[in-house]
Amino acid sequence: MEALRTKAKELLAQGEVQVVIGYEAGTAGVRRPCFVRTAESAIRLVWDTNCIGNLAGYLTRPEIKRFGKPAIVANNAVLRSLLQLVAERQLQQDAVLALAVAQDGVVTELPTAQAVEDYLAISPGGLSAADREKMEHLAQLSREERWTFWQRELERCIKCYACRSSCPMCYCGHCTMDCNRPQWVSVPSHALGNLEYHTVRAMHLAGRCVQCGECGRACPVGIPIHLLTCYAEESVHRQFGQQAGTRAKLDYALGAFRPDDKESFIR
């Protein structure tokens, strides 16, 4: 933690970055995002094992961009989101200084996308064991059981869109949900509207989701919706090989094709 603070103080003092996005101690041990803009307030930065939130979402917000060049305290998920955002041209290569903090607290400065790629190559990361176990359980169920499972879960959705705003890949100014001519997705948070919204979001994240699980954590009513986007991403990985958040060069599976893609259900 100390190394992080000294690094942040040094960067802010030299003016290399104008803001350091990191975690600070919230109430009852919770870690919440904080935006350190002066060398003195770098003391607020903390780092421990439950700094797991994905801060990359803030990088595309205009309010944060206005501060100037940011440095970001980056766990694995943040680094993967960084690469995917660079690939989708939402971030310039050198617009962000990533401070990768490994489990043991060692801070490594990663100024360029290539550096991030190499760093990630040694410690890729992915779904947590608990989520993996849930996915396995769902896969065992029959179709009808999965339908009832998701209907009972999505019933609780109140369309607060917390999942959308917490997801770093949901940076679209005008989302499909905001379309009303035509009204692609029914607006009210009833069963149909919820099913359509979450199906659309999963499909829009297929091949782009870095599986950080932030949307699941952000959901106020505790629906495991991160399983949907993670499943869509794994479907793309299994069938086409691409993996979101591994390369800074765009390799969007649904934007490309191979003449010999194998499938067995088209007649």
Binding site: E88, R89, Q90, Y171, C172, G173, H174, C175, T176, C179, R181, P182, Q183, W184, H204, L250, Y252, L254, G255, A256
Partner: protein
């Protein structure tokens, strides 16, 4: 409130027999937005069309639905009728009551219900149609012909004769291509130089043709009518304007032992050379790999010999960018090197040669002045065996397709050999003789009957050397597959015709498709053989598939006609059914967030970038922009776009949504 007219057609009794047209027309009157609805026996007839026009004028309709046959049949007819009545043609839609309803269902209520639903679907769609104007695209009236063989020369001359500018691009130092290497040409045995050289000179001298030899296309961008081509003009190390082509430098050059590509490795040339005596342009080229001035920095014999001081050692390659409106691909072919299958001994034994090398031996300007001699010891061969289908029509050996010209040039080779050495024995191993052109079969019969060439129907399994003779082991299938062994002095392999070197890279540079063998893919094998799927790029000659000279010249004329037709109009009009990225007022400028996931989805590379900068030039936003000239309206980008920023005219999101909701 929209004012839509519905016109239900009986199509004689094709529709009327199973669909109650009056009922459908009556039901349509109740649909919201429909102000006029009637049915008629033949809507596509003159009275039918005038009914529509009359209704448009009288009722002030702003949308028309014709419920009749398939739109693939009469959509243009009804859209023209509608536009003659002053309504934008893209506000007229057709409901397919014939192929998709009356012809395929029994005469029941559900069929009439289905017919009503189909009309209702189009009514909902028409309400969301927008008036569209055809896209106007300017055209640069200059053509670029890539390839200086007979195909390229013919295409260039035909286009230039229609008073259009042409740039004729050729990779090697001279025009002529493979035809210049031939001795005589079938079926008339007239010498290829005599019929080609005049055309080469005419192309070089034509006021409308700019000749660029020893140059290659580096990069191409743009679209039909508005291509921008970057051409790399390789340095000849000689100033073309000063050089008179006297040839003194050629005699003085000390480096003599370089294998001559034009003579297919049978002759030698010098470091400074002209490919063949009748080369056009007649300016020599310095081969910097072998010229000792460039290798050891000491020899300037040619500089001293040159009367007009035209040698420029320090000359560098130039990159020239030209604007062109259309491109004709005439890059020709190459003969397959057959060392891939050692069983024929090509490469192991010097006296086993391929078709082009035999042409050089038979050619008067060739290394042996037209006398057929064995490359190994220069003796005149008494027995020559010709192998047809050496690599063609056999997936294991080389390629699956038939190379079309080998049967004819093999018969010609055998005939030329018998004319030059009447006592010599010529054998031809063949599978089937394909001589389908004009006077072709008579030519082959002449070779067999008058010149005594012995044709053996069977394939050769292996050739090996024994006591100085080449033993050709084959089978004669007409005599019950009896094994045949011929002791030959020389063997000529008619190997496969393949796309020229670098053709696949060129295809990638200009985004033209290739087939599995690397030949350019034509737009439609039967109906559009000289066009490609990329608008504005045309094909001529063997680059599209193996082809002989008569067909090549005919196809070159065809490609030229397409270019001249394109250039006959000032502006190019295209169906306005193209995609468009929406625009919003500032500060958003567009729903597009510039992720460009759609860019790779477009098969026509029609999606480019548009940037918005604030007053002092700082980049504010980058957005996608679709080039209406290139977009063909497939809509893949529309479905790929997450923010629904792109929409397709004619099949917009609103229209499709309305259709679904009308069911």
């Amino acid at each position: 409130m929209s004012r839509i007219g519905v016109f239900v057609c009986h199509c004689g009794e094709n529709i009327g027999s199973t669909v109650d047209c009056q009922e459908v027309a009556a039901r349509c009157k109740q649909m919201p937005g429909v102000v006029h609805s009637e049915d008629y026996k033949y809507m596509c007839s003159d009275p039918g069309q005038s009914m529509i026009k009359q209704a448009i004028e009288e009722q002030g309709l702003d949308g028309v639905v014709v419920a009749a046959c398939s739109p693939r049949m009469h959509e243009p007819t009804f859209r023209r009728a509608v536009s003659e009545a002053g309504l934008n043609p893209y506000l007229c839609e057709m409901a397919n009551l014939r192929e998709h309803c009356s012809w395929v269902h029994e005469e029941t209520d559900s069929t009439t219900d289905k017919a009503t639903d189909l009309v209702h679907l189009q009514v909902e769609k028409v309400k969301r149609n927008k008036p569209l104007q055809p896209i106007q695209v300017p055209i640069t009236k200059t053509a670029l012909v890539i390839g200086g063989g007979v195909a390229g020369i013919q295409a260039a001359l035909d286009i230039a004769d229609s008073d259009r500018k042409v740039i004729l691009l050729e990779r090697s130092p001279s025009l002529g291509g493979h035809m210049a290497q031939l001795s005589e040409t079938f079926p008339t045995l007239d010498c290829s130089q005599c019929i080609l050289t005049p055309k080469m000179v005419e192309a070089a001298r034509h006021p409308n043709i700019t000749l660029m030899t020893y140059s290659e296309l580096e990069h191409l961008e743009g679209f039909i009518g508005n291509f921008k081509a970057t051409i790399r003009k390789r340095a000849r190390k000689i100033d073309e304007k000063l050089c008179t082509g006297c040839g003194l430098c050629l005699q003085k050059c000390p480096t003599r032992k370089i294998s001559d590509g034009f003579n297919e490795g049978l002759g030698m040339r010098r470091a400074i050379y002209v490919p063949f005596p009748q080369a056009v342009p007649n300016t020599p080229v310095i081969d910097i790999q072998n010229c000792s001035h460039f290798r050891k920095k000491k020899c300037d014999r040619c500089v001293k010999a040159c009367p007009t001081d035209a040698i420029r050692f320090e000359q560098q390659d130039e990159w020239i960018t030209v604007d062109v409106g259309a491109i004709v691909l005439a890059t020709g072919f190459k003969i397959m090197r057959s060392d891939q299958f050692p069983e024929y001994g090509y490469g192991a034994y010097p006296d086993i040669i391929d078709g082009l090398q035999f042409e050089r031996l038979a050619s008067a300007s060739g290394p042996t002045q037209g006398v057929i001699k064995r490359p190994s010891d220069g003796k005149e061969p008494e027995t020559i065996v010709f192998l047809a289908c050496a690599g063609s029509r056999d997936a294991a050996k080389g390629v699956k397709y038939c190379s079309k010209i080998c049967c004819m040039y093999t018969a010609k080779h055998a005939m030329l050999y018998k004319h030059k050495a009447p006592h010599g024995k010529a054998y031809v191993f063949y599978m089937d003789i394909r001589a389908a052109g004009k006077n072709y079969d008579e030519f082959v019969r002449r070779a067999i009957e008058e010149d005594g060439v012995k044709y053996i129907r069977g394939r050769v399994s292996r050739i090996y050397e024994e006591d100085g003779k080449l033993i050709v082991k084959g089978a004669d299938t007409l005599l019950g597959g009896r094994p045949v062994e011929i002791k030959a002095d020389m063997v000529v392999l008619a190997t496969a015709v393949q796309p020229n070197d670098g053709q696949i890279d060129l295809a990638r540079k200009i985004h033209v498709g290739c087939d599995e063998y690397g030949f350019f893919a034509e737009a439609h094998p039967k109906l559009r053989p000289v066009e490609t799927n990329t608008a504005g790029i045309y094909l001529a000659g063997a680059c599209q598939s193996p082809r002989d000279i008569p067909e090549t010249v005919a196809q070159a004329g065809g490609a030229a006609a397409k270019v001249v037709a394109l250039f006959s109009r000032d502006r190019l009009t295209r169906e306005p059914l193209v995609a468009e990225v929406n625009r919003r007022p500032s500060p958003i400028y567009s729903d597009c967030v510039g992720c460009f996931l759609c860019e790779t989805a477009c098969p026509y590379q029609a999606i480019g970038q548009e940037t918005v900068t604030d007053r002092d030039g700082k980049l504010y936003k980058t957005m996608a922009k679709i080039n209406p000239g290139l977009c063909q309206g497939c809509g893949t980008c529309v479905a790929t776009c997450r923010t629904k920023a792109i929409d397709l005219h004619g099949y917009s999101n609103e229209q499709i949504y309305a259709e679904i909701m009308s069911l």
